[in-house]
Amino acid sequence: MLETAIQTFTSPVVLFFVLGLFAAFVRSDLAIPEPIAKAMSLYLMAAIGLKGGVAVSKSGIDATVVSALGAGIVAGFLLPFFAYGVLKTFGKLNRINSGAVAAHYGSISVVTFVTATEILTGQAREPGGYMVAVMAAMEAPAILSGLILARGLGSKSGTQSTGEMLHEVFTNSSIMLLLGAFVVGMIGGEQGFGEVSPFFEAGFKGVLCIFLLDMGLIAARRMIDARAVTWRLGAIAIFLPIVNGLVGTALGVGIGLDTGSSAALGVLCASASYIAVPAAMRLALPEADPGIYLTMSLSITFPFNVLINIGVISAFAAMLTSVNGGIP
């Protein structure tokens, strides 16, 4: 546990994130130009998509992959219902805001996943390449749950028809690039990837450092400006990732995934979206307050996951699999 924490806090990726938080709190004017931040996020999508695709091109799609996909989709769909209950009762949010926030916690954060993959790999618990596909599959279901919770079944949401909204979700730039690169990786395979690996693999960790620096800046600045978030909501933004993380990890071990992949599933459940879902909510639930959902997911849950929860989940996954006598 302690060792894990030390490993976490000497990883350059995490250190740059802390630097970003620090710089924002001392009100430095440090800022990554927006087009660069956007480009880095596209790069990360392309790189993990490619890597996942190449991995699956080698391993093939077997029962494990299918059950991991199924587990991810089910978890993504169901987790918001629990979150909604907590947000509405303990959090004292109204129906619309509860639904919107719940959608964020059921969906996933790509950057949290990527950071977890780095940390897990550093602990010799690299998740399977197919977890990238699981991640992609978990992006959307929670949006549906959130909308059902906020509006009831079958209602028209915002300015959009459901068809428009689904189109939006499946063609949004992150998903498009992630899945597209995944397919490119599957087709090109090991050999095709070899040619581009200096760009997509060697540079990956460095780009992740700078991207997390930027996320640290953005998260902390939003925190400083935050007004809409009560202490109750702050507590929920810590509580949900813990619970969801444990549930997800147990689910992963339960369906027979290895330690790293179980932990990755836990991290996916624990993470809260701050890219795809806010954009979708802004359109589908314009009455919901972005000040609430962005601050909770980006400024509280995201740092909590990166700095603490990933380590906890990893340790928990290791414990469960060793109890299980299972795969390391």
């Binding site: 300015t159 795809a276 954009a279």
Partner: protein
């Protein structure tokens, strides 16, 4: 001296994700053109926003020049979105050359 005519200039601050809704409305009322300008950051009732392009919640300025009647029709068309999404719309008279382009 060169001849100028008076037209309305309308500027709408909107979410980038909703830009297409605005330009569709412009097309719908029969205005022939529009131009999009980038926006950095801002502050309103919902607080400060900035650097949000990573999160897809950034904004743009949509600017269009049109005859008064079409401009008012556009304002009418956009009024519900102004309320729902907190757009900002302002308009004023400008002189243009070759006014037939902005009928």
């Amino acid at each position: 001296m060169i001849e100028t005519v008076t037209r309305k200039r309308i500027e709408i601050l909107t979410d980038k994700a909703l830009q297409k809704h605005v330009t569709d409305a412009i097309d719908r009322v029969g205005i022939t053109g529009w131009t999009i300008l980038p926006v950095d950051s801002g502050k309103g009732r919902e607080g400060v926003w900035r650097e949000e392009s990573v999160m897809g919640t950034d904004k743009v300025f949509v600017l269009t020049i049109a005859a008064e009647d079409k401009a008012m029709a556009l304002a009418e068309e956009l009024a519900p979105m102004l309320t729902d999404f907190g757009f900002i719309l302002s308009m004023w008279d400008v002189q243009v050359i070759r006014g037939e382009r902005f009928s």
